[in-house]
Amino acid sequence: MVKDIICITCPQGCIIKVTGDPAKGEITGCEGFKCKRGKVYAENEFIKPLRILTSSVKTSGAAVPLVAVRTSAPIPKDMQMAAMEEVKKITVSGKLVPGDVIVENFMGTGANLVASGSLD
């Protein structure tokens, strides 16, 4: 499999060509990068692209209807839509500050779902 990956580590936006088998975690070729960070980014993006998911959850008994949440670490890119379904089910109340854990080991990703906004 060959994939063109637009590098986002700096504004240059290099197009990096990665070859291999992502299912096996195998990389046979990587070209077009202009720095080490770019190579690392492209290889990770090829094997297992990760994203921080952000959204908001419903509040109860608060002055504001929503509070912002995020995953404490990046989660697999292809889990984002499924994760949203879980986020939609959550309601929070009480005092929250950024970083407060709402769901530990969110969907088994190892990352927590944490508050990213505040609730007084």
């Binding site: 908001s56 959850v57 419903k58 209807p65 929503l66």
Partner: protein, 479 residues
């Protein structure tokens, strides 16, 4: 079934003026309006000018009524607490051909008894209007051409009528008229029938369709589209008067003038259409405005436009303002051919129709308790510092600025919602107190206005409409 003496169909300028005029008498009056708010269609999208009638066709009913209406505005606007300014119009000529047309225009003004039209030299016009094309050779000055807030005008007339007992059935569409023994009996609407003795068709653009319910549609109405630009109050090139072009055989042309609130208005186009619902602007039309107005005001900066809109004038075929009663259909008044002079002549049409009805035998005893005046929502931004402080002390909501472009407070928005015939929609708030009328066009205040309307009316935010039903601002909730 509801019962009333008089049904007025349409709550545009003419319908609203009629409602107020008839509310001076001991009559039960009901206004039926298809839109969710006062202001009709053409009455809210026009050049907002109160004309003198200097250029009307002499001897016509339209010219008589426009000329008669203009002097009424000082008192009406004072009574109804709405802004009105006699800023005057100029008609500059830039070449010999145009100069040669001036005497005929002035003569027509004399025929219409608009005697205060004056010649001006090029130098005089440039002094009055420094942004004019310096090639101006001379022109005419029409001092009583004036500007008004067209939204507030209709709303204030209707509010005052309602305060004097007139009922308004909004978002109600007339679907038929019943008659019996040569007289009207009932107005049928999509919300039920209303039994009545008199029906006045003030449906403007749709007056031919209403007339067809009683077979009096010996004419038809086509829309004539007019597109406009509104420019930022801080635009680089402004005019002080209404700058009118010398008309050509084809069109009255495109003008530039200040609005009541200090913006610049540039337009309109004149495009004959068939579709009465086509309220879309288009690039060709807007571009044509630019080209034409630059001939008079070379530095007009249309990039400072904050919005563009279009209005539909009701073009009667055959043309001309007609107000008719019929021997074979008692109680029915048909008003047709109200076009660009309609905003101006509405108040005269109202008096003319009232007189016609009384002459025809309608029992109408004047009220002794008619409330002549209306107090508008405070114009917070225009108040002195002391007045502002006083208002906030009385009602802290006046200290909460919601629309920052126009400095409109929560207090004003709540007043607009809770007053007689109050706003129920985002456009309704905007037209009453100008929240969202400024340069950010509701970008900042829009989300807040939705919340305030929902809270004050006790409805869900996703029920709040821009204007008519079906124009909901939101599609449910996120969570």
């Amino acid at each position: 079934m509801k019962k009333t003496d008089v049904v007025i169909i349409g709550a545009g300028a003419v319908g609203s003026a009629l409602a107020r005029e008839l509310s001076k008498y001991k009559l039960d009056v009901t206004v039926v309006e298809k839109n969710a708010d006062i202001g009709g269609d053409s009455s809210k999208s026009n050049s907002a000018i109160i004309h003198t009638g200097y250029d009307a066709k002499p001897g016509t009913l339209e010219s008589q009524l426009v000329v008669a209406a203009n002097p009424m505005y000082d008192e009406i606007c004072k009574d109804l607490d709405i802004p009105f300014k006699r800023i005057g119009a100029i008609l500059p000529a830039f070449n010999d051909e145009q100069m040669e047309q001036l005497p005929a225009i002035k003569h027509k003004a004399m025929m219409n008894r608009v005697y205060d039209v004056e010649y001006k030299t090029g130098a005089e016009l440039l002094e009055m209007e420094p942004e004019l094309n310096p090639e101006v050779k001379g022109g005419l000055y029409i001092p009583r051409e004036s500007i008004i807030d067209p939204f507030l005008f209709c709303i204030a007339l209707a509010e005052n009528a309602a305060d004097n007992g007139v009922k308004f059935e909004l978002a109600t569409k007339v679907i038929g008229i019943d008659q019996k023994d040569g007289a009207v009996t009932t107005v049928k609407t999509d919300k039920g029938d209303i039994e009545c003795k008199y029906i006045i068709n003030a449906a403007g653009l749709y007056c031919d369709e209403i007339a067809s319910f009683v077979g009096k549609n010996d004419y038809y109405v086509t829309p004539r589209k007019g597109q406009f630009y509104i420019l930022d109050k801080k635009t680089s090139c402004k005019v002080r008067t209404i700058v009118l072009p010398i008309p050509t055989k084809v069109t009255k042309g495109k003008l530039m003038c200040p609005t009541m609130h200090g913006n610049m208005l540039v337009g309109p186009t004149a495009e004959d259409l068939l579709d009465k619902t086509d309220k879309s602007t288009n690039k060709e039309g807007l571009d044509s405005i630019a080209a034409d107005v630059r001939k008079m005001i070379p530095n007009v900066n249309l990039r400072d436009s904050i919005t563009q809109y279009c209005g539909l004038r009701a073009q009667r075929n055959p043309e001309g303002l007609n107000i008719d009663m019929y021997d074979d259909l008692k109680g029915y008044v048909n008003i047709s051919g109200v076009r660009s002079t309609g905003l101006t002549n509405s108040v005269a049409v109202a008096k003319y129709v009232a007189d016609l009805l009384i002459e025809s035998g309608m029992k109408a005893e004047p009220k002794t308790d008619f409330i002549k005046t209306r107090k508008g929502t405070p114009h917070f931004a225009e108040l002195s510092a002391e007045e502002k402080a006083e208002l906030i002390a009385k009602d802290p909501r006046y200290g909460n600025v919601i629309c920052r472009c126009e400095t409109i407070t929560e207090g004003q928005i709540c007043d607009a919602i809770h007053r007689t015939l109050g706003a129920t929609t985002v456009d309704g708030v905007k037209r009453r107190v100008r929240a969202g009328m400024g340069r950010c066009q509701g970008g900042f205040c829009g989300p807040r206005v939705i919340e305030i309307i929902a809270r004050e009316l006790g409805i869900s935010p996703d029920e709040v409409c821009k204007n008519d039903k079906g124009s909901e601002m939101l599609k449910g909730f996120v969570r």
